[in-house]
């Protein structure tokens, strides 16, 4: 039997190790990027208070502004539910949105920026806000609830996460036969079974590669992994969702990577898919970036704060979007999907986030297309 003091030491050690691993990743991250490791009830209560304070301060000013215009890559029905819930909480603000894909959002925003237009307030997306920030289009704003965020950027509030998982078709392979982790996918025994997201586009696989590169900090290992993937000569997809549907259909045994919410949804329907639970999930931030020429900056800040608040996160969860908070429990939260204390792979490389093309040309292209 373990003594009480030994138990405390063991738990402490485990927590310490966990913290060290996540913090390690954070140290290697670019300036201004970072991950949080531990939080508790205190942090939750503090965040709630911080939110109420921000809300009380911002709402009267936002009410005077009266409107909020959001550009987003998210589904229209998600945006409708989220904006309706926001307007219910803050009836003095009328929220409207424009939905498009990332290239279209970046193109429109930067064209409007160059034209000096004060046309919108918030850009709600994954890749777009960092790219727009690099072009000078984002107003720096640090959320008051930063202590509860899994991934925190002091200049752009992280309101949700894209979580990537290693998925496989359960009719095609047993869990024991599936790769143990991302690196194991490059094993030649999986040749003919795998489909990859295109590593040369700013998509999930390239963001995963950037996370692995940051974590490994070992160019030799990174290049060997890429060479291993290339040697598999596997089908490459430019649409992660289309690739995932083909995994479900049995066209492929393994999809690298799949989005956790897609996997969960299909598992819920009884589809023959599962994911490797012991493999660290990749976390990509979804930001609410405030436009530098925002005509309603207080409404924009309030919206970002509200999205991170418990009510906002519940609204996001209700449409299947993953929470950005450590303390938020849902079926797609890290703790539920990967177990307590699971390691994660955060995407924090500044160059990748702001100029994915340059990052890919520097680190992936020489091996992948060489």
């Amino acid at each position: 039997m373990m003594s009480k003091s030994m138990k405390v030491t063991a738990i402490g050690l485990a927590i310490g190790l966990c913290f060290a691993s996540v913090a390690g990743a954070a140290q290697k991250a670019g300036p201004g990027q970072g991950t949080k490791g531990i939080t508790g009830a205190g942090a939750t209560a503090q965040a709630a208070k911080a939110f109420e304070r921000a809300s009380a301060e911002l709402y009267p000013k936002a009410k005077q502004e009266g409107n909020l215009v959001v550009y987003s890559v998210w589904d229209v029905e998600h945006l409708r539910i989220i904006s309706d819930t926001f307007m219910k909480r803050y009836p003095g603000i009328k929220a409207t949105y424009w939905q498009a894909r990332n290239p279209e959002i970046v193109t429109r925003v930067l064209t409007e920026l160059q034209g000096g237009q004060s046309s919108f307030d918030v850009v709600l997306s994954d890749n777009a806000p960092s790219v727009i920030r690099a072009a000078g289009g984002i107003m720096s704003y640090e959320t008051a609830q930063k202590d509860v965020l899994l991934l925190h950027d002091p200049g752009i509030p992280t309101v949700s996460l894209q979580i990537q998982a290693l998925a496989f078709n359960t009719r095609k392979m047993k869990p024991a036969e599936a790769p143990k982790n991302w690196e194991d996918v490059a094993n030649p025994k999986y040749k003919g079974m795998i489909a990859l997201d295109d590593p040369m586009r700013a998509g999930p696989l390239s963001s995963m590669l950037s996370a692995l590169k940051t974590q490994w900090n070992d160019d030799g290992r990174f290049n060997k992994f890429l060479q291993g993937l290339k040697a598999l000569k596997v089908p490459v997809h430019k649409s992660t969702s289309a690739m995932f549907r083909l995994l479900v259909s049995g066209e492929y045994n393994i999809a690298m990577p799949a989005l956790l919410h897609d996997v969960m949804e299909e598992m819920h329907k009884g589809a023959p898919v599962s994911y490797v639970k012991t493999n660290p999930p990749v976390l990509f931030p979804r930001h609410a970036g405030i436009y530098v020429k925002s005509p309603h900056p207080n409404a924009a800040k309030l919206f970002a704060e509200w999205l991170i608040s418990e009510q906002g996160q519940k609204a996001l969860d209700s449409v299947g979007r993953e929470s950005s908070r450590i303390d938020f429990k849902s079926k797609t939260s890290i703790e539920s999907a990967f177990g307590k204390g699971a390691k994660t792979l955060p995407v924090t490389d500044k160059l990748f986030l702001e100029d994915p093309k340059k990052w890919l040309d520097t680190f992936v292209k020489p091996v992948w297309e060489g």
Binding site: T107, E112, L113, G115, R171, H237, K238, A242, G250, G270
Partner: protein, 550 residues
């Protein structure tokens, strides 16, 4: 007057083109101005992957255009000129596939032809014991098959008016000289339809060269890289419209080469005139027992063009998830969840209404402007009108996103920005080439003697245009209106940058599921969309006796 109208239309079309071309010399990454330089072009011409990609693009686009325009021409000939049984049905069967958007065809055919999980390969394995995949959606042949099917409607709608307005005396002369029907068809009928065929072929070729969905969904997994992916990467990865435009210039060069051959082939336009001053009635040819084969041909196209993919989509929309076993278990596992999801979509109705109103208006304006421009080129003596041949087609060389950036730059800071009018102008620019090429293909078939008779009697241009040209072009006007309306109502790419926040445009909603890769919901939305259009077309045909260029 036609020259002024054409100049205004031409200016509306060429202005965004000039804007994006200018930016290709002046900008680097979006948001940054780098001054006048050739960096983008140096990158394009220094790209070592261009030639193999271009070669794939040409094979894919030419193969699809040839298949689509060829089948379209054959169908038009069967419908217009033969005594194929079941006339009412035969007239309608080639029309229905037009209603199915290309991306729906892509997904349905991927599910049918995927090597390991495809329905057809599964059936061959289950019922015939063939365990090696026979079909492969992720191959060049698979791509040409699917995009070729999407090219058929243009071929059909362009060729049908020509065959319907055919002076039978030309064929009768051949018969009197002892020519057999098939020989007459090959030597007289089809060559006279050459300009319209070439017009449709040129359009389909350019559509193929810049098409993105089929290469992305079917080409990339098969490691088939096409040129246009460079254009999209410039936008999606680098956010560099200047570079995307520089890459698009290669498409412009290809367009100019294609147009050069077209203009050369049709330079003696009176050779192709099938509509002359003599009165005639279109003659239907008795093809004997072959008529059953022609019926079968129309039916096979109907099966491949819409019925089979439609059935696949209906099943996919009603099963919990797609794999071969689940598909084959239908209907015991049918659920309606996806339909509830789509119908609950917040902007399903409002978006559809907005796009309906806009699409009808744009179809009418664009088709009229296209005819006026074609009239200016082929029926007036003004100098330099051949330039319109290029201007009227050039928007097709630009990927829609690049073109709409040009429009955004023009409208930015004006009251037009974020207005419905700006969206209308965007759609006009995008669909003008279809209206124009359709009109020019048809106008070439009208002999100048009809106009000349009017000119001799002192008619002014408006009399010639409204009393002679327009009435004779009625069948092709109907076809073009129908085609542009159907295309505009499902347009996403051009519309997306020009829609203002808070104002939904229908297709953005409907095709959101396709864009997001949610195939089950997409299938349900597609089925609803198709049912609405099929009912509308059938009602128009049978209740209101409307004729779609027939």
């Amino acid at each position: 007057m036609p020259l002024i109208a054409s100049t205004i239309a031409g200016a509306a079309i060429i202005t965004p083109v000039i804007v994006v071309l200018w930016r290709s010399f002046t900008t680097g990454r979006l948001g940054f101005t780098v001054g006048l330089n050739l960096t983008n072009y140096m990158r394009v011409f220094g790209d070592k992957d261009i030639l193999p990609m271009l070669s794939n693009s040409v094979i894919y686009a030419a193969g699809s255009a040839l298949l689509g325009t060829g089948v379209g021409a054959l169908l038009a000939w069967i419908v217009a000129r033969t005594n194929t049984p079941g006339k009412g049905l035969v007239e309608l069967m080639p029309l229905y596939p037009i209603l199915m958007p290309p991306i729906m065809k892509n997904i349905a055919w991927i599910l049918l032809l995927a090597p390991k999980s495809g329905i057809l390969n599964g059936m061959l394995n289950q019922y015939l014991g063939i365990d090696t995949p026979v079909f492969n959606a992720f191959s060049m042949a698979g791509m040409i098959w699917v995009f070729g099917l999407a090219c058929v409607p243009l071929g059909y709608l362009f060729l049908l008016p020509v065959f319907l307005s055919f002076d039978p005396s030309l064929e009768e002369s051949a018969y009197i000289a002892g020519s057999r029907p098939v020989h007459t068809m090959m030597k007289i009928t089809f060559p006279l339809a050459g300009p319209a065929f070439l017009s449709a072929f040129v359009l389909n070729l350019l559509r193929g060269l810049r098409s993105f969905e089929t290469p992305v969904l079917q080409g990339t997994p098969g490691n088939i890289k096409v040129f246009v992916s460079r254009v999209y990467d410039s936008m999606a990865l680098e956010f560099n419209t200047g570079l995307a435009t520089a890459y698009s210039v290669i498409l412009i060069v290809l367009s100019v080469i294609t147009l050069y051959f077209y203009v050369r082939a049709t330079r003696f336009s009176e050779r192709y005139a099938t509509i002359t001053g003599k009165g005639y009635r279109v003659k239907v040819i008795d093809i004997g027992p072959w008529r059953y084969l022609t019926f079968l041909a129309v039916f096979v196209y109907f099966l491949a063009g819409i019925l089979i993919p439609f059935i696949v989509l209906i099943v996919v929309s009603m099963i919990p998830y797609f794999d071969y076993e689940t598909f084959m278990s239908f209907p015991s596992n049918a659920v309606l969840t996806n339909y509830f999801t789509v119908l609950k979509h917040p902007s399903f109705v409002t978006g559809l209404y907005n796009s309906l109103v806009l699409s009808v208006s744009i179809a009418v304006i664009t088709v009229l402007a296209g005819i006026v421009m074609a009239f200016t080129i082929y029926r007036t003596r003004a100098a330099g009108t051949k330039l319109f041949e290029f201007i009227g087609t050039v928007p097709l060389a630009f990927p829609p996103l690049v073109l709409s950036v040009g429009l955004v730059i023009i409208f930015l800071g004006t009251p037009l920005y974020n207005s419905l009018l700006a969206l209308g102008i965007g759609l006009f620019v995008a669909y003008f080439p279809y209206a124009f090429r359709n009109a020019s293909g048809s106008i070439v078939n009208i002999h100048k003697e009809l106009d000349e008779a009017a000119w001799v009697h002192g008619a002014r241009w408006r009399h010639v245009f409204f009393k002679i040209t327009l009435p004779i072009l009625k069948p092709s006007v109907g076809g073009a209106l129908f085609y542009i309306f159907i295309e505009a109502i499902r347009n996403v790419d051009v519309a997306v940058l020009l829609t203002s926040p808070g104002k939904e445009y229908g297709p953005v909603t409907l095709f959101e599921y396709f864009r997001l890769g949610q195939w089950a919901e997409a299938a349900a939305g597609g089925v609803i969309y198709l049912i609405i259009l099929v009912v509308a077309v059938s009602t128009a045909k049978f209740v209101f006796k409307l004729r779609f260029s027939l």
